[in-house]
Amino acid sequence: MDTPSRQACTGLVVLLVLTLSAQSRAFELPESVQIHGFLSQGYISTSGSNNFFGESSDGGSWDYREIGINGSWRPTPKLQFSMQVVGRDAGKTDNDGVRIDYGFADYSFISDADRLWGARVGRITNPLGFYNETRDMPFTRPSILLPQGIYFDINRNLALSADGVQIYGEERTSIGDFYFQAGAVQPRTDDPAFQDSFTGGILPGKLDGRLSWVGRALYERDGGRIRLAVSGGVFRGKYDPKQGQIDLEDGRFRFAPLVFSAQYNAEKWSLTSEFARRTGEFRDFGPFLSDDKATGQSFYIQGTYRFAPKWEAVLRYDELRWDKDDRNGKGWEAATGFPAHTRYAKDWTVGLRWDITPRIMLRAEYHRVKGTGWLAALENPGMRPTPILPSTLEDDIDEDWNLFALLASFRF
């Protein structure tokens, strides 16, 4: 077990002991301590031989679990310590076990009725779009799977949180509330599917995070009736080559997402849309890997309708393009010989949510997808984006496919 996992396990044990102690009343936790958590089990079934979160095309996959526990302690109103430990399993894209999703100290310099300003230090969730910060907590998601065009799960750890400092501010004015966050961080590059998407599963070495930036400006009117946000970041990393068959130099990658978000909330329904543009760049890897730069684009439009007190329905169209200058992937196919449909995905989703109690939720949803842009090559060898592998696997993956998912979640 490597060191981060061991730290995370220790964290989990500490939190569990605290929870049990609080419940057995062996000793009283201070009033300013809170423990919360969630537990979730999913089932995913896909058509053809396309796999998502496990071998889902072969009779369905139960290999999608999320367990999280978090604790927060607020010794004074100005100071809060928070930590969340998560165990997550999502097919081959995530089987790394337990990890610390966030753990930081938060100090507010200014706090009154009209404003709040402060700073956080530690591992902090990245404020990207509306859903990123709590993406593992099933109750906070609009559907079982977040719109994959923007919140793709193959680089979940990289997207979710990073280590560093963050300045935040809130101004509550007569025309609405303004929220700002800006952070200087070192990104996490420990996602198996993210490492794989770069190394193709066969290159030696790994990617490490370097100094990066992330921030968001958010405007809320009438306590969130209208929400508008712009968020973005520049995530940078460096390749750490190890001796192997191929001599690569210590190249760099840069990943810069920019997300525009809008939401309208009525009592019974909500309308949400987000648009993302991201540039990805790889350079300085030496003669064996040419520099590569592409700008991708994604958006989704989503309606949710709370048609009965414990029920919610969702309808969404979500579109992902890995390269806006090669929207249908034809250029990619010509250049690499690999299927064009791995470069985009158009996903229609319908879903249903039933909150049996405030703590127990059941969900079902159906996706009809054209394109395989957000499937992981790690689980679908047919879409390997490297010319090094023999291309005998092309017919292993379908362009038109569908996905059915079920999820049961518990929270406390």
């Binding site: 109103p77 706090s111 969730t125």
Partner: protein, 184 residues
């Protein structure tokens, strides 16, 4: 604020329709009773029905809703809060009273009529928005959840017995054990 006005307008336009339905129902009941059914509708009965109908029309919209008041522990250092401050407190974003002491927020379950009424009337937001704001705080580590109480009686006891507590109660539940906070 526009949202509250919207709710009021909806109520105001919804209720006369209800009154009309009640009026028609009353009338059909009266008419169905053979002993009361006149050969020719008597002017008297007509007048009574009309009066009933108009009465319903005028009275129903004026029936007071169970009014929720903001209440705090008697130790609370303020008598009044601005709507902005109130919303910041119940969204779990304003963590302290003006004197720096911690605020402890108490709420009823999301679907309790008193909670729905309080959120819509006094905070001008829907309970599902509050829930999302709390969850965002709790599961990103940037906030904490409010304390949950099961009933108005439990709410009163909790607010009365917790330093720095704030909550809400229907007017008829308010007594000297808690302090009413004006929203202005």
């Amino acid at each position: 604020m526009s949202q509250i006005q919207g709710e009021k307008i909806r109520e105001a336009t919804g209720r006369p329709y209800l009154a009309l339905l009640i009026g028609l129902r009353l009338r059909s009941l009266v008419m169905a009773d053979r002993s009361l059914r006149p050969q020719r509708r008597s002017p008297c009965l007509q007048r009574v029905l009309l009066a009933c109908f108009v009465g319903c029309f005028l009275m129903v919209p004026r029936l007071p809703l169970a009014e929720e008041l903001v209440v705090a522990n008697p130790s609370a250092p303020v008598d009044a809060l601005s709507p902005t401050a109130l919303r910041a407190i119940f969204s779990m974003r304003l963590r302290s009273w003006p004197d720096g002491s911690p605020v402890r927020v108490f709420v009823l379950p999301d679907d309790a009529p008193g909670h729905v009424q309080f959120a819509k009337q006094l905070l001008s937001i829907f309970p599902h928005q509050l829930r999302r704001a709390w969850d965002r705080g709790v599961y990103s580590g940037t906030g904490q959840a409010p304390n949950l109480v099961k009933s108005d009686a439990a709410m009163r006891a909790a607010v009365a017995n917790t330093n720095g507590a704030i909550g809400y109660l229907p007017r008829e539940m308010v007594d000297a054990s808690v302090r009413v906070i004006e929203v202005e």
